[in-house]
């Protein structure tokens, strides 16, 4: 590992490492908010639909509150997404200058989705009480659809970096550009499905967790039950389907990106059949402290009892990703995903066949309370696994990340500033959202702006609730 790191670092321009950390940090932050942009509208729609169509006042209150929460989350999601747009050019001029016209089309279409989302978000948020209820409800639909289309577009670009398509390189020049072939590259569909479900898991478990905490504190009313069940229902479907989609996305990875698969599986040598290696660390070329389950590696990764996972020893050191990070990130994602899938299966099986409601059980509610953070960790780990696992390439087998980076001095300063600003944004968002929840519990409905005519324009002690 040490030799490997030294080798990689020696060849890199000064701007590479800070640019990678900057991208990882801002992308890792944005993906949480982007998930809300993708999945939250569908949940709001269900609550709002129930409220309007079934005349369910509880559901309508939920929809109204979730809409206000989404106003905060989508605003910071919009700006953190803008940061990424800028960073594509500022941090990776080599990538954008060379391949901008190959990979740009899905970004342009994503821009349109973002437009639709922002427009109908504005209409929806400000439409409460100002539009006929059914038409107002319909305004969520374009938002939800745009979220799906936008996800496909953005993920298609990342998939293209893994399986580049839609161009040829002749004498070092990019020619025969076909942006549609680049957009619909071999794994765009499966990778989209994987992230789409992940977004529903992240948002579903996170929102359900909020209401689980409320129930743990004794707030066991219809409001909390419905507030739990709608997002938990979405998360349940996504969590059960996700392992299947993940497996299908991983199929053929050994042929597409053997180094990534070897790192995922911590396969130092080619073994037939390959074991499933759980945990473990690569130290000086040796795998330590791993739990090997014979044959399972071949079965899961290659759909075969004998076909091996190609070992890292067959791949030149300069083409290998950082192995330990990739392996651990991958297994963290798989571990959490499996746990969440099992948990929802247990919940629904007990509910449907044994007529037993786990929402009565404290331990299950506690689990649900941490399921949101767990899903966030799984999503982050998945992104680390696929991104770090693709290194040292930015465009797999075509362009190295070091060739994409600029030569800017002082990017560490940018990273430091970004960490400070994003920490401030996180603290601000958490404070604002918690204050909203607190005021709702105290019976305030509309949450007027502090400058609004209803307020007294003086600081009062924020209300506290004995909980």
């Amino acid at each position: 590992m040490l030799i490997h790191d030294a080798l990689v670092l020696a060849a890199d321009p000064a701007g590479l490492l800070p640019a990678r950390q900057q991208m990882a940090f801002t992308l890792g932050w944005h993906i949480i908010l982007a998930s809300f942009g993708v999945a939250f509208p569908a949940m709001i729609f269900v609550a709002h639909w129930r409220g309007v169509m079934r005349d369910d006042a509880t559901a309508l209150v939920l929809a109204q509150r979730w809409a206000k929460v989404s106003a905060v989350l989508f605003a910071i999601g919009a700006v953190s997404g803008t940061v990424l747009s800028f960073e594509m050019g500022l941090l990776w001029p080599g990538l954008m200058g060379t391949f901008g016209d190959v990979l740009g089309l899905p970004f342009a279409l994503e821009g349109l989705s973002f437009f639709v989302e922002a427009i109908f978000l504005g209409i929806y948020l400000y439409g409460w009480g100002r539009m006929p209820p059914r038409r107002h409800l319909l305004m969520v639909v374009p938002m939800a659809v745009a979220g799906v289309v936008g996800t496909f577009c953005v993920i298609s670009v990342n998939a293209w970096m893994n399986t580049p398509a839609g161009f040829r390189i002749v004498d070092g020049e990019v020619t025969d550009v076909d942006p549609w072939a680049a957009m619909f590259n071999p794994i765009a569909g499966w990778q989209f499905a994987h992230m789409w479900l992940a977004a529903y898991m992240l948002v579903g478990f996170a929102i359900a967790g909020v209401y689980a905490v409320g129930m743990l504190r004794g707030r066991r009313d219809a409001h909390h039950r419905l507030g739990f069940l709608i997002p938990f229902g979405f998360a349940s479907v996504a969590a059960v389907v996700q392992p299947v989609v993940g497996h299908l996305l991983g199929g053929g990875l050994g042929d597409r990106q053997p180094a990534k698969l070897a790192a995922f599986e911590l396969a130092t040598t080619t073994e037939s059949p390959s074991p499933l290696r759980i945990g473990g660390l690569l130290v000086d070329g040796e795998v330590r402290w791993a739990l090997d389950i014979p044959m399972l590696g071949s079965l899961i990764a290659q759909n075969s009892f004998t076909a091996p996972v190609r070992g890292l020893d067959t791949i030149p050191l300069r083409d290998q990703p950082p192995v330990n990070i990739t392996h651990w990130a991958f297994q963290t994602m798989i571990g959490i995903g499996t746990l969440l899938a099992l948990a929802v299966i247990v919940y629904w099986v007990l509910r449907w066949w044994r007529r037993q409601d786990l929402l009565e059980r404290t331990w299950f509610l506690r689990f649900c309370a941490v399921s949101g953070p767990l899903a966030v960790i799984a999503v982050e780990a998945g992104w680390i696994a696929t991104e770090v696992g693709r290194q040292p390439w930015v465009v797999y087998n075509v362009m190295r990340t070091s060739e994409a980076a600029g030569d800017h001095p002082g990017l560490w300063w940018l990273l430091a500033t970004t960490v400070v600003v994003y920490t401030g944004l996180t603290v601000g968002a958490v404070l604002v959202l918690r204050s909203m929840a607190r005021r709702w519990r105290l019976g305030e409905q509309d949450l007027p702006s502090p400058y609004g005519p209803q307020t007294r324009l003086s600081d009062r002690k924020p209300g506290r609730e004995a909980s």
């Binding site: 206000k68 106003a71 905060v72 605003a75 910071i76 919009a78 700006v79 953190s80 803008t82 747009s85 800028f86 594509m88 050019g89 500022l90 001029p93 080599g94 954008m96 200058g97 391949f99 901008g100 016209d101 190959v102 740009g104 089309l105 970004f107 342009a108 279409l109 821009g111 349109l112 973002f114 437009f115 639709v116 922002a118 427009i119 504005g122 209409i123 439409g127 009480g129 100002r130 539009m131 374009p142 550009v177 942006p179 600029g406 800017h408 940018l414 944004l425 601000g428 604002v432 204050s435 005021r439 702006s449 502090p450 400058y451 609004g452 005519p453 324009l457 600081d459 009062r460 924020p462």
Partner: protein
């Protein structure tokens, strides 16, 4: 018309829309910042919330649209501009981030003191973002972005044209915002607020006009290619901008606020279109032409499709949103 010119024009339409609508949102920050203490400024700040709240995110997307059209249609020129102008772009980005977050947080602040913090972030950064975006425009227009992207990281935007364009951008945004807010306050029946906004918009308009006229000579000296275009091909647009600005001031004086808003839009849009016409056929002035910068033909054709889709999907939705915000029902409350 060549495909690349059509794509460049589609991109530029987005830039004009961003300047006008995004600019008006940014400009609101000036009135928010100068609204006075909490009690005195409450009505104006509420009006600003109400006026830009439903539309600012949609208006912001024009910037994203311009960026993606640029990097997809003209990738090498995009990379060159981003590399040379990394500093003002990062500062503009900081303004954009703090503006959006500050605005959203303020609306749901539990206490006045928190609202003050978020509000000052929102208002201050609303002016920072257009200033630095203006310096970027000035750098491109005065030929300070070399084709290889290795331009000087400081003098490329710390020069007469960039700084003047930065200030003019802030002034124009503020003028636009004033005319929009005056019209909104009038329609909502907030008379004293409308009168106060009208006075301040007149003042801002006079300052903005003087700034534009006063910087013509220094910019002409500093950016000869741009000056040649401004006095040649783009001259009618500059005239239309001056007439639009004067008409807006006269209409404001005569309390014709709705018409004044249209005139203000014409004035600002004409300046921006005039800049584009003046620097044609250059994408990066004196360095790269639109034709030289063009990406792959298949991609340019696909981008025209995207632009057409924007015309079919985005524009009608946007018109619907704007119509709603201008309707009787939305003006109240």
């Amino acid at each position: 018309m060549t495909v690349e010119l059509a794509v460049a024009m589609a991109m530029f339409v987005g830039l004009v829309a961003y300047a006008v609508f995004g600019g008006a949102d940014f400009g609101s920050g000036f009135y928010d910042l100068t609204a006075g203490g909490a009690a005195h400024g409450a009505e104006l700040r509420t009006e600003i919330d109400h006026s830009i709240g439903p539309v600012w995110e949609a208006n912001h997307v024009w910037l994203i649209y311009v960026l993606v059209m640029w990097w997809t249609g003209f990738p090498t020129a995009f990379a060159a501009a981003m590399s040379t102008l990394i500093l003002p772009l990062l500062l503009a980005l900081l303004g954009i981030v703090l503006r959006g977050a500050g605005f959203a947080f303020r609306k749901f602040s539990p206490t006045l003191s928190q609202a003050r913090v978020y509000g000052s972030l929102f208002a201050g950064s609303s002016l920072i973002a257009p200033f630095f975006l203006g310096t970027v425009a000035g750098a491109v227009a005065s030929g300070r972005v070399p084709a290889d992207g290795q331009g000087d990281r400081w003098s490329s935007w710390l020069n007469p044209t960039s700084l003047l364009v930065g200030v003019i951008t802030v002034a124009c945004c503020t003028f636009l915002a004033g005319s929009f807010l005056t019209a909104d306050a009038t329609r909502a029946g907030h008379r004293s607020l409308a009168a106060q906004l009208r006075r301040r918009t007149l003042l801002v308009g006079a300052v903005a006009g003087a700034l534009v006229l006063g910087s013509l000579v220094p910019i002409a000296r500093d950016a000869p290619t741009l000056a040649e275009g401004l006095t040649g091909r783009a001259a009618p647009l500059i005239v239309s901008s001056i007439l639009g600005g004067m008409a807006a001031l006269v209409l404001l004086l005569r309390r014709r606020v709705a018409a004044a808003r249209v005139s203000a839009v014409i004035a600002v849009a004409s300046v921006v279109v005039g800049w584009g016409a003046a620097q044609y056929p250059w994408l990066l002035v004196d360095e790269v032409t639109i034709a030289d910068a063009a990406g792959a033909p298949a991609t340019l054709r696909a981008l025209l499709l995207v632009a057409a889709l924007a015309g079919v999907i985005v524009i009608p939705s946007l018109v619907y949103l704007f119509r709603l915000t201008q309707s009787e029902q939305w003006a109240q409350g």
